[in-house]
Amino acid sequence: MLAGQCCFKPATELYPGFAGTVAAVGALPSLAEGHRYSRTDRMAMAAARDAVADFDGPASDLRESGIVMASTVGGLSEIDAEISRGPAAWYRQGGLSRAASYPVSRVAASVAEHLGIEGPTCAVSVACASGAMAIALAANLLLDEAAPMVLAGGSDALCPFTLSGFNSLQALDPEPCRPFDQNRKGLNIGEGAAVLVLETLARATRRGARILAVLRGWAMTNDATHPTAPRKDGLGLACCIQRALEMAGCGIEDVGYVNAHGTGTPLNDIAETHAYESAFHGRSRPIPVSSTKSYFGHCLGAAGALEAAITITAMQTGALFPTLRLTDPIESSGIDWLRGELRRQPLPVAMSVSAGFGGSNAALVFGRSRA
């Protein structure tokens, strides 16, 4: 991303007969019991293992951790359309164990099994806002003292089901996507997983942990407007952003960067633009916004977690990633569309914003640790 590279390839390389452009993770590490796990599970397990690789606290804390994993695809990647011709026959022909990975709860359970975690474990499935909501719910678990720390994130694999679904909705851009561009044509599906380790600031400070960022505020709202389309005026998302800032104790001037949902679809990007215009109205200088889906596509349930990780990376490195291929931005007021060259600036506070089918919105406010 620092080099401005994206990772798209033609969908036909993976799924012959499918048009469009996708971003795929390469080969995954092999697992001794790999046959029991879906691709979504395996990506989640790999990301979670990396997330705790440096954990040097008591083993009991890791064992008692909570897990909140987001996914919309779950084990759909393991099931093919032949199941519809007769489930019993498909199960007899080897589908039984593949179908066992279907429930999204398996994603969280797989991480728990892989790392020997025994705390509260759940999966969140709120379409494309899932990943951000997993982090918000994990934070609530910490406030409730339900676990000493929580692994929160998301994972979703590419699969024909979702590619076909978005294709049927005519939501796919056949070329690499152009979020927030006036000539945007849709989204590219990606896949991936990201897991964050959350613990209370007091506990992390006490044990001398390396604190990557402080989650200062979070909020979740719903548009209650349409089953798939966002509210056109963006007010549901704007309300979500305002609530998160309120919880964070931040004003609109404090935010240095917004990692946007920015799918590249005509409807989402215009609604989201209105949301930023409304939420940051009155700010003395334009709010810097970019969509990093232009690098790796829309990873659905994993998107919010991946983008939270990128927001934290931006804060740590001072690198504000521009939206790729954004040449003719949506007309707006008060928004500084990040495009072209990578910009570097100190970033004490940044936001990650997500939205999804069903009208769901989520916003996370991160701050740098003073520790």
């Binding site: 007969g17 039984l96 429930p103 474990t121 089901f161 049927s168 089953p227």
Partner: protein, 348 residues
């Protein structure tokens, strides 16, 4: 009835017991014969009878929805009706929806696969696709009732309903919402039933007329239960119970975990949830008895156990409907896969 805890003020249910606001009869049920798809012989399950949602909730349009979404709409409407809540006086952006499900919208997921098998992946139905998403039921509840607060769909191996209940109550305690509608449910489809059968998880009573409790498997069930939670002091109507501290865990020592949760409190009742484990041999009963001592144990019922990880709200509804009495209680779920869920309650 004075409490500082979130309280349960409304219940709506679409279950094999029927479509009801408030408590239900809780009489033992006999499974129904499956006729919705062709079976190789007698196959039985606890099924929701077909009904027209608009006859229960006027104006409801559900023709293109998964049954799970339609049932969630009906159950949430019945629960709000039971709670006697006038939403027009509330800040809709502070009303949350938590929906727990094991499998999500499997009926339309199957239909989408069917369209792919028939027309190829390039010929699938754009109307069906969004309705296959697991969060479609909760989204429709928000859309129909104009609820603009947090809207979360979750799943947790064996404990989805309990975790939704705990997280809904947590949102109220943390001041992130003024009211929460917690729903849990699943539908039974051919693909789900035949998976259970292929995995040898079904009780003998699924294949013949016989006793419904069995150590050798469970009888699948379906339905949606909705519960309205309000912060203490806000509710004006009667309450069923107050929700205290709770825990759910994927593993560990059940008894130690529950004892830690209870502290010095001795529950008068333990309401058992079975979570898909074989009914008679459920580890719930033995754990509950060991923890309970002289405490009265309200056993799990097969119809709720068969609903799997979304069944705990039906367990709770059935236990409340038995009207065991007033006082401290514990909703306890354990799973054959390990782990537990426990929630302290104060029954009114």
């Amino acid at each position: 009835m004075k409490t500082t805890l979130p309280v349960l003020t409304g219940i709506g249910s679409v279950t094999p017991y029927g479509l009801l606001a408030g408590l239900i009869s809780a009489e033992p049920l006999e499974p129904s014969v499956i006729t919705a798809w062709s079976t190789p012989g007698l196959r039985r399950a606890f099924l929701v009878e077909t009904f027209r949602p608009a006859s229960i909730v006027p104006g409801l349009k559900t023709r293109r929805l998964d049954r799970l979404s339609a049932w969630a709409l009906v159950a949430s409407s019945l629960a709000l009706r039971d709670a006697g809540i006038d939403l027009s006086h509330m800040d809709r952006s502070r009303i949350a929806v938590f929906f727990a499900t094991g499998f999500g919208c499997v009926e339309l997921t199957a239909a989408f696969y069917q369209s792919a098998a028939t027309n190829g992946w390039a010929g699938t139905d754009p109307i069906t696709f969004p309705e296959t998403l697991s969060n479609a039921p909760a989204s429709h509840v928000a859309l129909f009732h104009d609820l603009r607060g947090p809207n979360v769909t979750l799943s947790s191996k064996s404990f989805a309903a309990e975790s939704a209940l705990l997280q809904g109550a947590s949102l109220l305690r943390l001041g992130q919402a003024d009211l929460a509608i917690v729903l849990a449910g699943d539908t039974l489809t051919q693909a789900v039933y035949e998976w259970y059968e292929a995995a040898h998880l079904l009780a003998p009573a699924c294949f013949s007329n016989g006793p419904t409790f069995s150590a050798d498997g469970f009888i699948p069930s379906e339905g949606v239960v909705a519960m309205v939670l309000e912060p203490a002091g806000r509710q004006t109507a009667r309450s069923y119970a107050a929700l205290g501290a709770g825990r759910w865990a994927a593993g560990g020592d059940v008894q130690a975990g529950v004892r830690q949760l209870l502290g010095d409190v001795r529950p008068d009742f333990i309401l058992c949830a079975g979570n898909g484990a074989p009914c008679a041999s459920s580890p719930v009963s033995s754990s509950a008895c060991t923890i309970a001592g002289e405490t009265e144990v309200i056993p799990a019922q097969a119809v709720a156990t068969g609903m799997g990880e979304a069944g705990a709200l039906l367990h709770l509804l059935l236990a409340l409907s038995k009207r065991p009495g007033q006082g401290p209680a514990l909703l306890l779920g354990t799973s054959a896969h390990g782990g537990f869920a426990a929630l302290r309650l104060e029954l009114f």
